[in-house]
């Protein structure tokens, strides 16, 4: 039985794309590499057929998937191709091979065969993006995959290093180097004996829960293998306690004896049909000396000026930006359990010349936050994964248990940002992304028709919003804007927080920790709104108040300070009165001197679309008749 591939097997196949019959097929033995089972139930088997020199993308028909599932055909094994067809890929010069009949020649070899090099290497190799098979076990600073153009030289030095490493390793580690590692993509619930080699790319906090069956604790981790495939793994109770400290973010582990099940789409955060559970019998072993083995955190950045559509959405975002300022640590009391948790706000900017505030919570506030504060004057670049987008001050980002923060990451986006900042960004003036956000964000149009109520529904229900704020939409008229109320506050141009007058000249921003010559005025006002059912007082912040009044706070202040007979300030407010708008509001409870008071806040304002409103009313009327 051949123990190796047929020389130039791929060329042979390419020369004869569709043999008449299997009798026509010469001896073709290839090595199966990059074996992937995709599709439902792993019925679609894809791999690369390698003859040591060249590779051809190939697929096995569904009928042969059982051979793969049963383990007869495995990655790095040899197969003799008995019958095949070579097909063109539309619009590409490449071809792909359909293996219609084959037989197993050899179980998985130690490594991928490369014809020029005879050295015996272990199954550690990097996936090259180009045709040439380059392997490099050389440690590098860069987290990515390093490719070298000269094959022979590298292969030798890799073998040398591997050899040296082996001699220095402890027996257990040497054993693990000969372990057969399965690609994450090939795992399925029906094949139990696998070992994976993965990096922990995300680690959640330990959470405690109480349900009908009792109490427990749980935590999740996100695992990524060298192909970039990701899977979420969960551990409960004993397993959680056992492995929580063992799993460390960024380290690589061999894992076996876990179980797989279909992922719950509602809670899925990672692109994988399956999710993994580890119990106390699962095996977890740290892979030492594997710093650059698997790719690091994969980011999918959203530019700051494109955050609008994500506000209040379930989807989490990744951002990268230059740190403009870091606030001191604040202690926030969590309402649900009265615990005090640390928080720190940082403002970041990117090439869109927009800034956004990111709230770092818990360890991120105390650890990384401190690091950022110490190096703030060097304008470090920070990349953050898995942020929730809120609507505080228009757009605000917040970290969650799962978020990852990397300072000055060695990735192309960071390099681009650095060179932009050093050349022009440093000097240019930035604006907060919240200012001038388009009105057609999610909270603007669609939700103006959901949860539509009358004002009396809110005012007659004093306990609304007791635990957490409740959201509604209403249509009403501005019935009164009190001229003598504090309508605005002085705000920092960068982070929108309140500034205080600095000794001397200018204004001091506590958040940005710096003095600015100028500041903006931002609205914070109370307006009376009426509809057919009643009236109520609503609090409105800058962007919404601007729509109600019809000008910015700075402009209104100018009118107010005008001296003369004409009272343009009062006129402006009168003109805003008795205009109808659609409002998105939140109702919550505030405590004032031990008294609970209802607080209604405007979250969005939109003009009344009379055609749409009429249609809405007709619908409501027809609902009335049905319920009679």
């Amino acid at each position: 039985m051949a123990k190796s591939v047929s020389a130039d097997a791929i060329s042979t196949i390419l020369a004869n794309p569709s043999p008449e019959s299997s009798a026509d097929v010469p001896e073709i033995v290839v090595q199966v590499v990059d074996l992937k089972a995709t599709g439902t139930g792993g019925s679609r088997i894809m791999f690369s057929a390698s003859d040591g020199k060249r590779k051809l993308r190939a697929i096995l028909p569904a009928s042969m998937s059982s051979e793969v599932m049963s383990g007869k055909i495995q990655n790095l094994g040899l197969i003799r191709i008995l019958d095949y067809t070579l097909n063109d890929i539309p619009n590409k010069p490449d071809k792909y091979l359909i293996v219609t009949n084959c037989e197993v020649v050899s179980p998985p070899l130690e490594s991928e065969i490369v014809s020029e090099v005879k050295s015996e290497e272990t199954g550690i190799f990097l996936k090259p993006k180009q045709e040439s098979e380059i392997k490099s076990e050389v440690k590098s600073e860069a987290p990515g995959i390093v490719l070298r153009p000269k094959q022979e030289m590298v292969a030798k030095s890799a073998a040398q290093i591997v050899h040296e490493q082996r001699e220095n390793m402890a027996p257990a580690a040497r054993m693990s180097m000969t372990r057969r590692v399965f690609p994450l993509v090939s795992l399925n619930p029906y094949q139990g004996s696998w070992t994976i080699k993965v990096r922990v790319t995300s680690k959640g906090n330990m959470r405690t829960y109480k349900n009908a069956r009792g109490e427990g604790c749980v935590f999740n981790i996100e695992l990524t293998d060298e192909d970039g495939t990701q899977i979420q793994a969960t551990m409960f109770n004993e397993a959680a306690k056992k492995f929580y400290d063992r799993f460390q973010l960024g380290k690589v582990y061999y894992i076996s004896k876990g179980s797989l099940k279909l992922a719950n789409k509602q809670f899925k955060t990672v692109k994988n049909d399956y999710e993994m559970t580890l119990n106390e019998n699962s095996e977890v072993e740290e892979a030492r000396n594997e710093e650059t083995f698997v790719p690091e955190t994969k980011f999918d950045f959203v530019q700051i000026d494109e955050l609008g559509p994500y506000v209040n959405a379930k989807e989490l975002v990744d951002v990268i930006g230059v740190v403009q300022n870091v606030s001191p640590t604040m202690s926030i009391r969590r309402k649900s359990d009265n615990e005090n948790i640390p928080k720190r706000d940082i403002t970041i900017a990117d090439e869109t010349k927009k800034t956004v505030v990111v709230s770092l919570w818990n360890e991120l506030a105390t650890n990384i936050g401190q690091e950022l504060l110490d190096t703030a004057n060097q304008s470090p670049i920070v990349a953050i994964k898995s942020l929730r987008v809120g609507d505080f001050q228009g757009v605000s980002l917040s970290t969650i248990g799962r978020s990852t923060v990397i300072v000055n990451p060695d990735i192309p986006e960071a390099k681009k940002l650095r060179s932009w900042y050093d050349s022009e960004g440093k000097e240019s003036s930035m604006a907060s992304v919240s200012a001038g956000m388009s009105p057609s964000t999610k909270s603007g149009s669609r939700s103006m028709y959901s949860d539509r109520i009358s004002l009396s529904h809110v005012t007659s229900n004093p306990s609304l919003g007791e635990d957490k704020p409740v959201f509604f939409s209403i249509r009403g008229y501005i019935s009164f804007i009190k001229p003598d109320q504090t309508m605005w506050y002085r705000a920092c141009k960068t982070c929108n927080k309140k500034v205080t007058e600095a000794l001397g000249a200018g204004y001091w921003c506590e958040g940005c920790q710096k003095n600015e010559e100028e500041c903006n005025l931002r609205y914070i006002m109370v307006v009376k709104v009426s509809d057919a059912s009643g009236e109520a007082y609503l609090s409105a912040f800058n962007e919404d108040a601007e729509k109600i009044v019809g000008c910015s706070a700075d402009e209104l202040e100018k009118l107010k300070s005008q001296v003369g007979e004409e009272n343009s300030f009062q006129t402006k407010l009168k003109e805003a009165t008795w205009n109808s708008h659609l409002f998105r509001i939140s109702v919550a409870q505030n405590e004032y001197n031990h008294e609970k008071r209802q607080r209604i806040t405007v979250r969005a304002v939109a003009p009344v679309d009379f055609a749409a409103e009429s249609r809405f009313l007709l619908e409501e009327i027809s609902k009335m008749r049905v319920s009679k």
Binding site: A611, S614, R615, L618, I621, R625
Partner: protein, 106 residues
């Protein structure tokens, strides 16, 4: 406000029921010649409107006047409603205003 003689919201179908009464209707102007405007009612039928508007008409017009035939109105007031109008919504208004909510209008 004089509420003694309210004009009934009509489309072509309802106009027949109110001959001799004061009515109001929104029509889409199809033709205008010699003191008669041919309009499309909000339920896709034709209504003739007699009279001379004092200014050029837009695509959609509201006329208030006396129904002097099953398909015609003698107009007293012409009001331009512009070039876009939700005829379907108006039509439903006509039906509601003459149906179960008649007491609120007449």
């Amino acid at each position: 406000m004089d509420t003694s003689n309210p004009a009934v919201f009509v489309n072509a179908e309802l106009l027949r029921l109110y001959v001799g009464r004061r009515v109001r209707a929104v029509i889409q102007v199809l033709r205008s010649d010699g003191g008669v405007v041919t309009g499309k009612s909000t339920d896709d039928n034709q209504i003739l409107v007699k009279g001379s508007p004092t200014s050029p008409l837009s695509k959609f017009v509201e006329v208030v006047g006396i129904a002097d035939g099953e398909k015609s109105i003698h107009a007293e007031i012409w009001t331009n409603f512009g070039d876009t109008f939700e005829t379907h919504t108006y039509n439903q208004l006509c039906q509601l205003a003459n149906g179960e909510f008649k007491h609120m209008f007449l």
